[in-house]
């Protein structure tokens, strides 16, 4: 039966204004498209590496993606700390969304890294490499976050347990980051040392742009997903309270 809307039509119910959530989604989509185009252009402009050839260009998005994954997990832990500190439940959703973004970028880090490893080392994965294994441990730890979270009924208890879990995980970030620098023998390249970036000016510039692009994409994805989850939650609460 059709209804209510046709019985009492109003201009806003026929063609309503674009909701803020969809505007945010459009903005996020635009930033993703523009960012990826910029990165694609960079990959064409930056000169090839003398040793590894063109496959070395994976570096310009593999490392920024890994840093964005760390940022997602770090932001999730920060929001978790705020939740435990301020007892404000909105941080729970923010922490969960940030960790979700970190996990998406974690998958991309593992896949792009594996492709680069095959191209330059001839191996998809090396268990002897601390950097690889520690990142995998970090990634699996945060995959388990979702299992822990969704095994508990929604409420204050779930918020607290999820927050404490994500705070434990963040300890692995510096361990993962510094593992390669502490290892005596490693095949994984160390681009940033105490002497600065080990690359030419144009390569460093391209890397910085790649990092900026991935950070903007990651943040846009975080904002869009958070806006959607908030709206969804509000609608559920409205329905439950009717």
């Amino acid at each position: 039966m059709m209804p209510v809307r046709s019985e009492s039509p109003s201009p806003s119910s026929e063609v309503g204004p674009v909701p803020a959530y969809l505007r945010t989604t459009a903005l996020g989509a635009a930033s993703v498209v523009v960012g990826l185009l910029a990165l694609l252009l960079l990959l064409v402009i930056v000169p090839e590496d003398a040793d590894q050839g063109i496959s070395q260009k994976i570096f310009y998005f593999h490392v920024p993606i890994a840093l964005t994954a760390y940022a997602g997990f770090g932001l999730g832990a920060w929001k978790a700390l705020r939740l435990l500190w301020k007892r404000d439940e909105r941080y729970d959703l923010e922490s969960y969304t940030a960790i979700h973004q970190g996990t998406i970028f974690g998958v991309l880090t593992l896949v792009t890294g594996s492709l680069w490893a095959k191209a330059s080392w001839g191996q998809w994965w090396l268990w002897s490499e601390n950097q690889l294994v520690l990142f995998l441990v970090l990634f699996l730890f945060y995959c388990a976050y979702f299992m822990v979270r969704f095994s508990i009924e929604p409420g204050a208890r779930r918020e607290r347990i999820s927050a404490v879990y994500s705070l434990f995980g963040v300890v692995l970030i510096p361990v993962s980051f510094f593992a390669i620098r502490l290892a005596e023998e490693a095949i994984h390249p160390t681009t940033f040392t105490l002497d600065g970036p080990q690359m030419e000016g144009s390569q460093f510039g391209a890397f910085m742009v790649g990092w900026l692009v991935m950070t903007v994409i990651g943040y846009a994805m975080y904002r869009v997903e958070l806006a959607g989850k908030r709206t969804d939650l509000e609608i559920r609460e409205l329905r439950d309270n009717r």
Partner: protein, 49 residues
């Protein structure tokens, strides 16, 4: 697989994963909008009637 093949595959994976995420988000947005419109209609109905 050539060196270029690895580079193109890695970039394509990144684009594909982001597009898949975007598709899921847009599908959820459509559902949220439907739910919100449904609530609005029900509220309007009870208010009118």
């Amino acid at each position: 697989v050539s060196q270029t093949g690895y580079l193109v595959t890695a970039f394509a994976v990144v684009v594909a994963v982001i597009l898949a995420w975007l598709a899921i988000i847009l599908a959820k947005a459509a559902r949220i909008r439907r739910d919100g419109a449904g609530l609005e209609v029900e509220h309007g109905h009870s208010a009118d009637g």
